[in-house]
């Protein structure tokens, strides 16, 4: 049922996907476990040329992931607050209340990536991610399947990027059905490009 293009689009980490690229730019708080000679410029607040061991700073995900090693000689990543015990309890209590867009627009994506960093809380984090998704699923489904021709921005602002994509899928199903029912599906309409560029009719060109 899925074409190859759709299957590729669906894969979580797609090298060329803009969402994934933006996701990997999210910054994580890290602590260096060894000295980084001559890389002092990475940390804006430090004056020295070298980064001593134990510096706390922020690095983007793609860099942290590349530098992280199991033996932890290079850096250790601190779990962002959203994935910690405190917030996890909030999510288990009522996942619908949280504004996932504010919590970092890539809650699910970043959460899945954080599991790379071998924190002892990994299973709990993974469980919470799954349960939050399941808890919010009903809300996303109802909103996307019922909001026809309305302004959906108030509904969308609390959703994270993954949920937004699902919302779009639901909306396209709904819109397709509604426009078919109204008979608009088989009407030919002028392309928006033609209307926007205001192409001249043949008669005008000949004059």
């Amino acid at each position: 049922m899925l074409s190859e293009a759709e299957a590729l689009k669906n894969s979580f980490e797609n090298f060329l996907s803009l969402d994934d690229i933006l996701l990997s730019h999210q910054r994580l708080p890290v602590r260096t476990e060894c000295a980084f000679p001559r890389l002092g410029f990475l940390d804006r607040s430090s004056d020295s040329e070298d980064l001593p061991e134990g510096t706390k700073m922020e690095l983007p995900l793609w860099l942290s992931k590349g530098l992280y090693e199991r033996k932890r000689r290079v850096l250790s990543v601190k779990l962002p607050n959203v994935y910690r015990e405190g917030w996890r309890t909030v999510f288990t209590a009522d996942p619908n209340v949280v504004n996932l867009h504010k919590m970092g627009p890539y809650y699910y994506g970043l959460g899945s990536q954080m599991l790379h960093f071998d924190s002892p809380e990994n299973t709990d984090i993974a469980q919470t991610l799954l349960q939050t998704f399941i808890g919010r699923f009903r809300r996303v489904m109802d909103c996307s399947q019922n909001a026809y021709n309305e302004d959906t921005s108030s509904l969308l602002e609390r959703l994270d990027c993954l949920e937004k994509a699902l919302f779009q899928a639901g909306q396209s199903g709904l819109n397709g059905f509604q426009s078919w029912e109204k008979g608009r599906a088989s009407q030919l309409t002028a392309s928006s490009l033609v209307l926007n560029y205001r192409k001249r009719k043949m008669a005008d060109v000949e004059d």
Binding site: L2, L115, L174, G176, F177, S179, A185, S186
Partner: protein
């Protein structure tokens, strides 16, 4: 799949018409049709019936189930049952839309029929969403739904498949030994 494609498939359904012209039997690739004699009912596929109707060459007879009392019964049954009840026709939505748009003069109480069919559709779609929600929240491995029509499946297909995909990815995080390792590295 487009709703238009589903409508295209629905147009193969047979309906009864009463032509006002005469024509010998015609031999088409899909089967034989006719002969057509004025005033005598004959079964033809919907696409042909609509074509004749638009050229004012026939009168369409509504299918048996397209009757106010029968549809009211079906609607009540649908509201009472938790599962999906058998539909009057696997393409009831498309048939209703096409026949009521092109041949409403041949169908008594067309507006009431339109409302009744819409009610039935809304009830079934609500049941479908409920069952999709319980499918996801209980993380079942598979579900079986009887008596669903293609149009209903089509409206929810993209959304449900995408959600199941996301759930699969999140669930594979929980597998020991593969915690994120299956994801491609940058």
């Amino acid at each position: 799949m487009d709703p238009s494609e589903v409508e295209f498939l629905a147009e193969k359904e047979l309906v009864k018409i009463i032509p006002n012209f005469s024509l010998d039997k015609i031999y088409l690739i899909g089967g034989d049709l006719g002969p057509f004699n004025p005033g005598l009912p004959v079964d033809v596929p919907l696409w042909l019936a609509l074509n004749f109707k638009q050229r004012q060459k026939c009168r369409i007879i509504p299918p048996d189930w397209m009757d106010v009392e029968k549809l009211e019964e079906i609607r009540e049954l649908e509201k009472r049952e938790e599962a999906f009840t058998p539909v009057p026709s696997p393409y009831y939505m498309e048939l209703t839309k096409l026949l009521l748009n092109h041949a409403s003069d041949n169908i008594p109480k067309a507006d009431e029929i339109r409302t009744l069919v819409k009610d039935i559709w809304d009830t079934r779609i609500a049941k479908l969403r409920l069952s999709a929600d319980s499918f996801i929240s209980q993380q079942e491995a598979h579900a079986k739904l009887d008596n669903l029509t293609l149009m209903e499946i089509n409206t929810i297909r993209e959304f449900l498949l995408d959600s199941l995909n996301c759930m699969y990815k999140l669930r594979s995080n929980l597998q020991p030994g593969s915690s994120g390792r299956t994801f491609t590295d940058f």
